[in-house]
């Protein structure tokens, strides 16, 4: 296993839970409202970049409207090689692919999407767990999102 993966593995020990929730998806895909969430550090060019100067990570998130064109997006993340994702964001945060699917009626709709930077260590893990993640889950519910595709770096 690559050294980077081993290091990530150790870091994620803190996040391993014995019990996990599970929500079955019952609606057909063509009627589902979907959202995308990445932890690849994507953000609008005019939004503040993720804080790379804090070695414990940045637990904040950026709201990415579903109709955002790729030219308005950039990536701030020093911990992985995102050159390919910058050439074609569909490999990391596939807004265009999902807009196509929605246009063709293959999914119901694409809701507002969200981006994080991942790589979060204590004490920011607590902030993410207690405040940030429930906040995002709440707005997804409000927007009647039924399923989410998550893509890490």
């Amino acid at each position: 296993m690559p050294a980077l993966a081993r290091r990530w593995g150790r870091r994620f020990d803190a996040l391993t839970f014995a019990e996990m929730p599970f929500t079955p998806l019952r609606k057909p895909l063509r009627a589902c409202c979907l959202a995308l969430i990445t932890t690849g550090g994507v953000h609008l060019r005019e939004q503040p970049p993720f804080a790379m100067n804090d070695p414990r990570g940045d637990p904040s998130y950026r709201v990415i409207p579903a109709d955002t064109p790729y030219v308005r997006l950039t990536i701030t993340h020093d911990y992985y090689d995102h050159r390919d994702a910058e050439r074609d964001l569909n490999i990391l945060f596939p807004l265009e692919l999902f807009r196509d699917l929605a246009r063709r009626g293959q999914i119901g709709s694409l809701a507002t999407c969200y981006s994080f930077m991942g790589h979060i260590e204590p004490p920011h893990v607590t902030t993410l767990l207690r405040r940030i993640a429930p906040q995002v889950a709440g707005v997804l519910k409000q927007e009647q999102v039924e399923a989410v595709l998550l893509t890490p770096a």
Partner: protein
């Protein structure tokens, strides 16, 4: 990633996470995972390979319906660059 996925799932929204490295998927434990054996930064494939990206997305969305056991890590078995991908036509899921 796992923490965010679990929190969303706990709110009553189904999640599927596309993860390149199985070791990470096993540690962060999102509710449902599709494991691609892809390099970092490529959770859905390679740039400009639309057939590959859509094949992975299709597998991921299908997994929302087929995975019934919590913590399942699905292995579609794509051979990455050695695979010939065809854009999926039938999206009528489940």
């Amino acid at each position: 990633m796992g923490l965010i996925a679990r929190t969303i799932e706990a709110a009553g929204i189904a999640t599927i996470s596309s993860i390149g490295l199985k070791a990470i998927a096993e540690k962060v434990r999102p509710p449902r995972v599709i494991h691609l054996k892809s390099p970092f930064g490529h959770p859905l494939g390679e740039p400009f390979n639309r057939a590959q990206q859509l094949s992975v997305v299709h597998d991921a969305l299908r997994a929302l319906y087929t995975i019934e056991e919590l913590g399942t890590i699905l292995e579609p078995g794509w051979a990455w660059r050695r695979q010939t991908y065809v854009e999926p036509e039938d999206w009528s899921l489940p």
